[in-house]
Symmetry: C2
Subunit: 122 residues, 2 copies
């Protein structure tokens, strides 16, 4: 369960253009990066990419992207798994589910008419 601090961290992580683009790319899958380049059909992690291949998509130095990824990992919106000497990056779907649930609950509350909204068109 995400507490307030967790949620703030998530929104902060997504509230920056560079990180949002990284997030978008990781989640919409702009990459293909296998564990074993000689056998790409084996053990491929769709979406999951290494730091370098993500950095290549941006006009920023590698350490800059590395720091952004660390922040996203700390916010639990991505997971980073070291395999051999590469780090594979993938979406953290559990967190996304929780965030989705938060907004759904919020909307549902208003849909159910619990709260009256002011009509500022009149």
């Amino acid at each position: 369960m995400l507490n307030m601090e967790d949620k703030i961290k998530i929104f902060k992580a997504l509230g920056n253009k560079t990180r949002f683009k990284i997030f978008k790319n990781i989640f919409t899958g702009g990459y293909a990066c296998s564990i074993d380049d000689t056998q790409p059909e084996d053990d491929i992690i769709a979406q999951a990419t290494c730091v370098t291949s993500i950095a290549e998509q941006f006009n920023f130095a590698l350490p800059t992207i590395s720091r952004h990824l660390k922040e996203m990992k700390d916010a639990k919106i991505i997971r980073m798994t070291k395999i051999k000497n590469k780090i594979y990056i993938e979406p953290n779907i559990e967190t996304m589910k929780e965030i989705a649930e938060c907004f759904n609950t919020l909307v549902k509350k208003y849909e159910s008419g619990v709260v009256y909204q002011y009509d500022n068109t009149k």
Copy 2:
């Protein structure tokens, strides 16, 4: 429809403790603030509050809260309506619906198995 810049603005607005708390209070309804104090049953806007009453909940100066609210309004997560000389603040549910939809789509995409997730437990 929210474009990328819109979404980043929304997440930035929510990625700060003070603003998140304001948001939380506005959305979960910690206030009751009528247009006409002598007739609270008439024209009451549930949830909607004025800047001062929100500021009272925080240990920050009024202009600080005012600036935070402006940022939240610019991000379209709240609406501010001037009535007489007070400004009433209320959640912007349309935006919340759109954000909820974004996360739902994201989650659905993964639920439907379009993307394989790496099992880092093995």
